[in-house]
């Protein structure tokens, strides 16, 4: 008898557990709608939507290389496999053409697609959830009045068991706090606007924070820096530890132009972000900059006191000597002291470069391997790629030379192995 009762209890607990799990994971579909003519949206709302969509960097992920804007298909390499960004043009079959505004808002606030399936958190709904209702309505009006593109998103390639979407519901229990947040009455309007843009729409922490083993942003480490697409996303709370501490004016200019007079140029995944932010009003990037500068950790050191090249305290190593030969032929035309490029457009010398002074050589290596491509007619930063010219040891020699000649930070170690590894990662992407 006791056995029977025990089994009944176990069965009851199991059934209750499954019911709770289904309750957590199950979401209803929202009815599809007929195609909405773009003219039905208010023109001013669409214009505001352009600003919202630029601040949210939607096009950066939702546009494939050489693809149509917002038509998706860009592969995002994650530690758990490859996810393809979806088509968010108003195409009825392959895009969001039959999504109502309610369905669109649910996707942004809670990461649920119109048909009820959970979206992967590579889509930063944990941040977009803070958007205001008005911003969501504006973004909807703008996206729904783009040109519909018929483009089927490729199937994701994720490892087991993460290829099973309903598991995302349990991730959401841990990481999603849905809904907007109240403004902080102690702080001024600009700071609150900046915080909303940084934590919400701009989702800066999605790249600039370390991730925990299941892909959530590590609690208590927001803005401590992360790795994305093979690049270091530098910490945003240590801008006062740069060779020259960042100023608000420099940060605002960097966000809009991709160029900072005492820090360097945007490259890698940050470059398209600055291209988007170039289109938003100055007051928005000022607000972002003001908020970012308010979250700095106490400064610990600030060594570089002049723009002059540091005098090496020790004699150069063989690697540095080999690197200096490469530098003289490949780099000095633009980066050497007194070169014409150094006198144009407030370009910083290498002593101020964020990449040369970083804790790891990753971004210096990536910049040398891939350069900075042409990016629009008004691009002021360009650098040829040297990945096809140099072997791993040559890249390592050059990086080692740069660090020794221009930074007061300790030498990087195992640079050649890092070059080999980064090249392999790039090839696999």
């Amino acid at each position: 008898m006791n056995h029977k009762r025990l089994w009944l209890c176990v069965a009851a607990v199991l059934i209750a557990g499954v019911a709770v799990a289904i309750g957590i994971a199950w979401e209803p579909a929202i009815a599809p709608i007929a195609a909405v003519p773009p003219a039905t949206f208010d023109r001013r709302l669409k214009l505001e939507g352009a600003r919202v969509v630029a601040l949210g960097d939607c096009a950066v992920c939702h546009t494939a290389k050489n693809g149509k804007p917002f038509a998706g298909g860009l592969p995002l390499a994650t530690p758990f496999g490859t996810i393809y960004a979806t088509n968010i043009t108003p195409d009825g079959q392959t895009g969001i053409g039959n999504w109502s505004e309610e369905a669109f808002a649910r996707a942004l606030r809670r990461g649920i697609a119109r048909d009820g399936h959970p979206l992967y958190p590579a889509f930063p709904y944990v941040h977009f959830t803070r958007m205001s209702d008005h911003d969501i309505a504006a973004a909807y009006a703008y996206l729904m009045s783009r040109e519909p593109v018929h483009a089927q998103t490729p199937a994701n390639r994720l490892i087991f068991p993460l290829n099973h979407r309903p598991l995302v519901a349990f991730w959401n229990v841990l990481f999603l706090r849905a809904g907007p947040r109240d403004a902080d009455p102690e702080k001024d309007a600009q700071w609150n606007r900046g915080k909303l843009l940084v934590d919400g729409l701009g989702h800066c922490a999605a790249c600039h924070s370390p991730l925990d083993p299941i892909g959530g942003e590590k609690a208590g480490h927001a803005f401590d820096g992360g790795v994305v697409d093979g690049w270091d996303a530098p910490p945003l709370n240590a801008l006062n530890r740069a060779a020259r501490p960042w100023t608000q004016a420099q940060l605002a200019a960097y966000l809009r132009t991709g160029h900072a007079s005492e820090h360097g140029a945007a490259a890698g995944p940050m470059l398209p972000v600055t291209r988007d932010l170039a289109t938003v009003p100055q007051e928005d990037v000022e607000a972002i900059a003001a908020y970012i500068l308010s979250i700095q950790k106490p400064a610990v050191r600030n060594d570089v006191t002049s723009s002059e090249m540091k005098v090496a305290a020790t004699s150069p190593t063989a690697a540095q000597q080999r690197g200096s030969v490469l530098f003289a032929a490949s780099c000095a035309q633009c980066h050497g002291a007194g070169s014409p490029m150094q006198t144009l457009g407030e370009r910083p010398g290498l002593a101020f470069s964020t990449a040369v002074n970083a804790p790891t050589p990753r971004n210096a290596i990536q910049t040398i391997l891939g350069g900075i491509g042409w990016h629009g007619e008004d691009a002021t930063t360009y650098m040829p790629a040297f990945g096809g010219l140099y072997d791993d040891r040559q890249v390592a020699d050059l990086v080692t030379f740069l660090r020794g000649a221009w930074s007061t930070q300790p030498a990087w170690i195992d640079v050649e192995a890092a070059v080999t590894k980064i090249r392999q990662e790039n090839d696999a992407r």
Partner: protein
């Protein structure tokens, strides 16, 4: 002495190791096809092929070439006996002032060696780094298409690279 193999011939050069490959080719080996354009790796007039890769020879130190073989436009044919790309460039009158052309031909050759029948997008993406200030890009592309046996593109193809999401609402 630095050893350098150009168009199948091995040379020993007594030059500073940081001399750009372009200077060694022009000043020491008297191969004047590759041109000095910007000296910054921005224009492509100096493009030669190193181990199958199109490279800006103005920013590659001669000592970094090592054992890799270098090909220049002189290796593709001569004025009397032009190679296939050179013939096509002549036929399509792809040359106006001619300064960029050696680099254009070498970049195109590197593509066709690796991929004899590229798509229109692959062709345009590959040729993008090389600039022609006379503006003969369309004739240059037509010449390359002929050698690759590619069809002429339809009128809409040129718009592929234009981002239109930032245009007015």
């Amino acid at each position: 002495m630095i050893s350098l193999t150009v168009n199948g011939v091995r040379h020993a050069l007594d030059v500073d190791p940081s001399t750009p490959l372009l200077y060694a080719l022009r000043n020491d080996l008297h191969l004047h096809g590759a041109k000095f354009g910007c000296g910054l790796g921005q224009c492509g007039a100096c493009t030669v092929i190193v181990d199958g890769q199109p490279v800006f020879s103005c920013v590659l130190p001669v000592s970094a070439v090592g054992t890799r073989s270098v090909r220049t436009v002189e290796g593709l044919g001569s004025a009397d006996r032009p190679g296939p790309l050179q013939s096509a460039f002549i036929k399509h009158q792809a040359v106006q002032c001619g300064y960029c052309i050696a680099g254009m031909i070498m970049r195109a050759q590197a593509l066709l060696d690796r991929n004899p029948h590229p798509t229109e997008n692959e062709l345009r993406e590959h040729m993008q780094p090389n600039l022609c200030r006379c503006g003969t890009h369309l004739r240059i592309l037509a010449a390359i298409r002929e050698v690759a046996g590619m069809p002429a593109p339809d009128a809409g193809a040129a718009a592929v690279h234009q981002p239109d999401h930032q245009k007015a609402v």
